[in-house]
Symmetry: C2
Subunit: 214 residues, 2 copies
DNA sequence: CTAGCTTTGTGAAGATTTTCACAAGCACCA
DNA sequence: TGGTGCTTGTGAAAATCTTCACAAAGCTAG
């Protein structure tokens, strides 16, 4: 099987979101053109993306919304529940622990962990904050495959090494630093400062042609 | 001037982060090889990225750390202060308002806004939560060019239209929905559920070759 | 001053991703 | 049953991004 590009997976995820909307509203079929318009891409792109995984559409008609939704869920591995642990009970950790979008998609937070003894034991939504000491065994006991890292950059790599050793298989990293993992562990990083810097660049370089800011 | 790829800008941002570290530690020069290693890319990529903007290095020696740091700051438009407003005083808004990384990089939060009358007036870090009604005039008075959107998907496009009309020039969107802006406004979206789904996909498709999870 | 070692800057090659364009397939209608 | 209109699926072309490979340039030592 050919390798699937990261950008493709991202778009599949977006298609799924909008297909679910259409499905809820009872729409039977959707054309690549309609999906493309909703998702801000092109019809050809939609068709190419989907065609990696099979022929889901009917020519002349479009794609069956409900059926394609199910197919995409399966492709993305969302037909099951994923157990997730959150490491770091700061503001970002709080936002993530409460995020409805996760649960809606089948991601269940089974534990929140923090270094700080003052926070350990406090209830937080459904979960109670636990000590980092129990992190490794909890990963193994719960068989949680995914960890979300919401801790400062300094400790990040050390914590990663720890949870990788405990058997974690995927990490979503919010710490603003490069971290490295063995090849069998998947890693995605989100860096908010970096995103803002991208905007700063865009503003600065449009500004040269446009009107210089004060 | 040739168009700069988004991925290039992202890497520049990363180079800057690590160069600052090196600079703090007093290191004089850094080779493309060293930078690449720190940032998880290749030496050729580093050189190519930098060469878009000029010749900053010395052959046989590498790049002068302090000088290149300054160049990158200028390229990214970080030599000035950027005023930022945050729309949405939920958990995500809270995390962003408190995020040190923003201020460190020259992004100053000049206002936090929320729809909910119960929240309006409360102090939040340095800022006080204000009503959405004052949003438009505040953008104009403060000349804040950047908005961070941390609100539910439903209202997102409406709020965007509002702040675009008020003269915002860049938006960092955390609402899990596609939004559209006129061409003179820059837009970046961060979607945490989508990132997790990317991990789910990776796990699912590695799992077929590896050992299926329970 | 020259030889030797190192590292940049960059055209060209290679790889990947997106767009184009059109034949093939399906539904509907008369 | 055959014609018409629409939309998919997909090779091929175009565009974009990354890697390669090497000449040019600087530094050090003798």
């Amino acid at each position: 099987m050919k390798r699937i590009a990261d950008s493709t997976v991202r778009r599949l995820s977006m298609y799924l979101r909008y297909l679910e909307d259409l499905d809820t509203r009872g729409q039977q079929t959707a054309s690549s053109d309609e999906l493309a318009h909703l998702c801000g891409t092109t019809p050809a792109q939609v068709r190419k993306d989907l065609s990696f995984f099979g022929s889901f559409g009917k020519r002349g008609l479009g794609y069956p919304v409900h059926e394609l939704t199910a197919h995409l869920r399966e492709i993305l591995g969302l037909q099951r529940e994923w157990k997730v642990i959150i490491v770091g009970a700061g503001k970002i950790g709080a936002a993530l622990a409460n995020y409805r979008g996760f649960r809606q998609r089948g991601f269940t937070v089974v534990g929140v962990y923090d270094h700080d003894p003052a926070k350990v034991g406090k209830a937080w939504g459904d979960a109670t904050i636990r000590s980092m000491d129990s992190l490794a065994q909890d990963i193994q006991r719960e068989e949680a495959p995914i960890a979300v890292l919401a801790i400062p950059a300094e400790n990040a790599q050390a914590v990663v090494d720890q949870i990788v050793a405990a058997g974690i298989r995927a990490i979503l990293n919010f710490a603003p630093t490069q971290i490295s993992v063995p090849p069998h562990v998947s890693l995605k990083s989100v860096n908010m400062a970096m995103e803002l810097e991208g905007l700063s660049f865009a503003l600065t370089n449009a500004g040269l042609l446009d009107q210089g800011a004060a």
